[in-house]
């Protein structure tokens, strides 16, 4: 999957949860949950949605690799073939 496809997909799911946060304004290397002001329930919704769409297990043990927007995009890229 290309970087652009992953990026678009991630943006789509984030916009559903935090529609009022402009994607251009966020720090993509900072904590995703701080940047989008999402709580653990929102994060579960995000992971569930991405996991379903990409058929990935998204184990909780990997959550540390999904901390920022860039981390999460990188994780999705390396795990979806």
């Amino acid at each position: 999957m290309t970087d652009d496809t992953i990026q678009t997909l991630l943006e789509k799911h984030l916009r559903r949860i935090a529609p009022e946060v402009p994607l251009d304004d966020i720090d993509r290397s900072a904590d995703l949950r701080e940047e989008f002001d999402i709580d653990s329930m929102d994060f579960m919704t995000l992971i569930t949605g991405l996991g379903k769409e990409l058929s990935l297990p998204m184990p909780e043990a990997d959550y540390d690799q999904m901390r920022s927007f860039d981390d999460l995009a990188g994780y999705l890229r390396s795990h979806s073939q």
Binding site: D39, S40, M41, M44, T45, P57, E60
Partner: protein, 399 residues
């Protein structure tokens, strides 16, 4: 024949606007069916019916704002003859409340009696014909008024959701953050009443959540994302079990006396992105396995954040839980939501040094606080209640 009245959806609600009629006259209805939606300061609320029968007729047109207690529909109960030509006798008895789910009666809300002056002097806005069509666009009266004033094209917004005032740009073209102020008013009314009437007392302690977090991680390790549990579901169950045992913290204080709840309907303080918060009930929070409770919690949070919740969820909470989640601060001391008598607050867990068996270990610790009503309980029993919650959280496998 019984009257179906505008329900009181909380201590701060005085009136509501009927925005949806989901059944037509003559349609069969069943206990628990959602038959209408009402717009309040807290958003659009779905209204359930509490008996079986047929909808006889609507008494209030769409878009009309009426006080709590005003009859909004007539319901023909199942054992009455189905005779639409029968003359309508005036029914002297108000709609009976559901036996197992009494609506808390709010002492300051307008009474549901005929002494209320003619319900609405206000002229109902004109309802365009498309409102009565299936798949119609659902637009709040205020939104419709602003669209008419500014010439905004409502059809551009589609029919997917209820359109409220803040969806319509005002004359300057900016979208107004109007619901925040209505929400703020609702919070202000309830919290001012709480601070004026309820003699709060406060207790706090620290919980070691290491085992609780390990329990959640172990459960989640081999589960797909949508079957995973959140730590919050353990908080819910622990508070609910303790409240079931310590009955002085679970119920309503009304008309000078305390009535314990017959079940634990745990109010969940849920913050909204648009500003403010609501605390609807997770019903029977002592019941069911943890995965089922988690599913109900997710359903509630999702619906609340979409501005869609049910009447009983707003009126039923018997005690409230407010948790700061994992990105908050150390502690929260809540303000009791009247007519409830207690609120439990749990801060954000952090890694802290703890002394265990003479040695220092890093443990996940959180602050827990209780704010309770001194008219009903004292610090001694409050401490026992708080300790019971802590004990449950330290034995997560028994939850």
């Amino acid at each position: 024949m019984t009257e179906f009245v505008m329900p009181s959806l909380g201590a701060d609600m005085e009136d509501g606007t009927l925005v949806e009629q989901l059944v037509a006259p003559g349609d069969p209805i069943h206990r628990g069916d959602i038959i209408a939606a009402v717009e309040t300061q807290k958003g659009a609320i779905e209204i359930e019916v509490f008996e079986d029968g047929f909808l006889d007729k609507w008494l209030v047109p769409l878009g009309k704002k009426v006080p709590v207690g005003t009859p909004i529909a007539m319901i023909r109960t199942s054992n009455e003859p189905d005779d639409p030509d029968m003359p309508q006798p005036a029914d002297p008895t108000p709609a009976a409340p559901p036996p197992e789910a009494p609506q808390p009666v709010d002492p300051v809300a307008p009474p549901a009696t005929p002494e209320e002056p003619s319900p609405t002097p206000e002229q109902p806005p004109e309802i365009p014909p498309e409102l009565s069509q299936p798949d119609r666009q659902r637009v709040s009266p205020a939104a419709r008024r602003r669209a008419a004033e500014t010439g905004f094209d409502l059809t551009s917004l589609g029919t997917g959701k209820i359109i409220s005032l803040d969806d319509i740009p005002d004359a300057t073209g900016a979208v107004q953050p109007e619901p925040v102020s209505a929400m703020r008013q609702a919070i202000s009314a309830a919290m001012t009443r709480s601070k004026r009437e309820i003699p709060h007392y406060y207790l706090s302690d620290t919980i070691d959540l290491t085992r609780a977090e390990d329990f959640i991680s172990a459960h989640n390790a081999d589960q797909p994302p949508d079957a995973r549990l959140a730590l919050g579901v353990l908080y819910i169950r622990a508070v609910a079990l303790a409240a079931q045992k310590y009955t002085d913290f679970n119920g309503y204080f009304e008309d000078g006396k305390f009535t314990p709840g017959d079940a634990v309907h745990l109010g969940m303080a849920i913050n909204l992105r648009s500003g403010g918060l609501v605390a609807p009930a997770l019903h029977d929070a002592t019941e069911g396995e943890l995965p089922a409770l988690m599913a109900r919690l997710k359903d509630l949070v999702t619906r609340v954040r979409q501005g869609r919740f049910r009447a009983r969820e707003l009126s039923d909470p018997t005690i409230t839980l407010t948790s700061l989640g994992d990105r908050g601060v150390a502690g929260i001391t809540g303000v009791i939501f009247p007519p409830q008598v207690a609120i439990v607050g749990i801060g954000t867990p952090t890694l802290q040094p703890a002394v265990i068996a003479g040695g220092v270990q890093p443990r996940r610790m959180a602050q827990i606080t209780l704010a309770a009503d001194h008219r009903v309980s004292d610090g001694h029993n409050g401490a026992r209640f708080l300790r019971a919650i802590i004990k449950h959280l330290q034995n997560p496998e028994q939850l």
